[in-house]
Amino acid sequence: MIKLTDVSYTYMTGGPFEKAAVSDVNLTLNNGDFIGLMGHTGSGKSTLIQMIAGLIKPTSGTIEIDGQTLHSKDCNMRKIRFKTGLVMQYPEYQLFEETVFKDIAFGPSNMQLPDEDIKRRVEFAADLVGLAPEILEKSPFELSGGQKRRVAIAGVLAMEPQLLILDEPTAGLDPAGRDEILCKIKDMHRRLGITVILVSHSMEDLANITNRIVVMNHGRVAMHDKTSEIFKKSEELQKMGLAVPQITEICEKLRAAGLPLSEGIYTVEMAKAEIEKVLKK
């Protein structure tokens, strides 16, 4: 369980450019959930995940992960970081080793695991993201953009974290690449049973794979609920400048026109099933 209590983060405290990125966030996330974190640029979502990953320290408030308070005296931050895996935006820019294998092994070798353990983890992680075994001996720099990104994600997965945080893992990818990555992440969540936090601007992406969504706005948590509940509040979301999926908009308008559709439809398949039922009656 991840528990945030009154967490705030201020940039450049005391200076003339002081700016609160996150203010008074209280949030409890359960283990095993697939959580979508949404909000526009500057809403504080990046700062929030960096705090959860233990990379930056909250200006005030506490973050507890499985009962351990981050940055407290009896908390080994490096060990905690092995438990939470953070995949940053454009993670392919962090690759540096000669071979894909060595790069994925960077995390596990920092954990000082025995060699055979590292090998097993690298192969497992590569398989999870769908990298063929022969790619492991290639240089990461001769791969395509989508493949590089999968190597970078595997590098985090090889640490076998209990909590996986991905910051816009589909940024810059084309629709096919995006679907592939999202499908792999969904698969990972199912196979490993770990907690996943997926940060994205795209509600369409989140709609299909998450079971809970947290919406950030102006550094605060504006909404936190089941995915299906969040899409019932399409008006509020639009007020925050977040675009709801086109399909949600269509169904809301049809409902307003008197069609008996249920609230909060967010996938094309859901809409198709309901409209079909109504029209074929």
Partner: protein
């Protein structure tokens, strides 16, 4: 020049190109016998997935790449003639994906002035061009700012202004929104549409976002180095099967129509916007209710 050729700004004739770029693609990328004409004043979108050859095609438009076979003519100028290089580049302005990597100067205004300075434009005219270009992208109030303090969308608008200051005939944009957030993407689309409509600027936009292509006058879909489809967005996106097969998206409204049609309901798939879709379904629903 007769009226007909004058209406074609860029003429791409049977272009073939072999692109060895192992770092990006892990193999060679090819253009296979591509022919395309860019018409004056149009907003043309080139849609395709990564590696479809769309960026390679874009780079042929202003002589960054020279075709191995075939010809690219810009306003009657052959891109393979090296002596015409700067005439061609001044006519075809190019904006790239990463806004950070195309801004040169430490002050917005100075950056926009970069191209006219290179062209040796007199000082007074540089001033006019810079003011015009910043106004066209709605960034005048940021003229004294440092680029790194701006948002992604703002930086990209400065990049567009920097190209407009050359007074080009065509604005070619190679995935200008791929690295931006939704707000930035909207800013760029609004700017581009405004330039196209109000300034009559010819725009070629390379993208893999169907939402963006749907706003163009004409869409060209590329796959495996070939032009697969061409037509208005309505024509192109109604072919849902083919688009999905090559790994691209269609608008959700179109997809809904497509799914309903497949399950036996009588709908057409040439629908792009939410409102069109709502109206069509509403009419069918009301008609059915009255019939009861």
């Amino acid at each position: 020049m007769d009226g007909k050729t004058n209406n074609i700004v860029v003429d791409i004739k049977n272009v073939e190109f072999l692109y060895e770029d192992t770092e990006e693609t892990g193999g060679s990328r090819v253009l296979k016998d591509v022919s395309l004409q860019v018409r004056r004043g149009e907003f043309l979108a080139v849609l395709g997935h990564n590696g479809s050859g769309k960026s390679t095609l874009a780079k042929h438009l202003n002589a960054i790449l020279i075709p191995e076979k075939g010809k690219v003519m810009v306003e009657g100028l052959d891109t393979s003639d090296e002596s015409l290089l700067f005439d061609i580049r001044q006519r075809v302005g190019m904006v790239f994906q990463n806004p950070d990597n195309q801004l040169v100067a430490t002050i917005v205004e100075e950056d926009v002035a970069f191209a006219p300075e290179n062209l040796g434009v007199p000082q007074k005219e540089i001033r006019e061009r810079v003011d015009y270009a910043l106004d066209a992208v709605n960034m005048t109030e940021y003229k004294d700012h440092a680029p790194h303090m701006l948002s992604g969308g703002q930086k990209q608008r400065i990049a567009i202004a920097g190209v407009l200051a050359m007074k080009p005939d065509v604005l070619v944009m190679d995935e200008p929104t791929a690295m931006l957030d939704p707000a930035g993407r909207r800013e760029i689309m609004e700017t581009v549409k405004k330039l196209n409509r109000e300034e009559g600027m010819t725009v070629v936009m390379i993208t893999h976002f169907m939402e963006e292509a749907a706003q163009a006058d004409r869409v060209v879909v590329m796959d495996h180095g070939k032009i697969l489809m061409e037509g208005t967005p309505r024509e192109v996106f109604s072919r849902v099967d083919e688009i999905k097969k090559i790994g691209l998206d269609v608008p959700q409204a179109t997809e809904l129509m497509y799914l309903l049609k497949k399950s036996g309901l009588n709908f057409e798939t040439d629908i792009l916007s939410a409102d069109e879709c709502v109206n069509v379904i509403k009419d069918v629903y009301n008609a059915a209710k009255e019939a009861l």
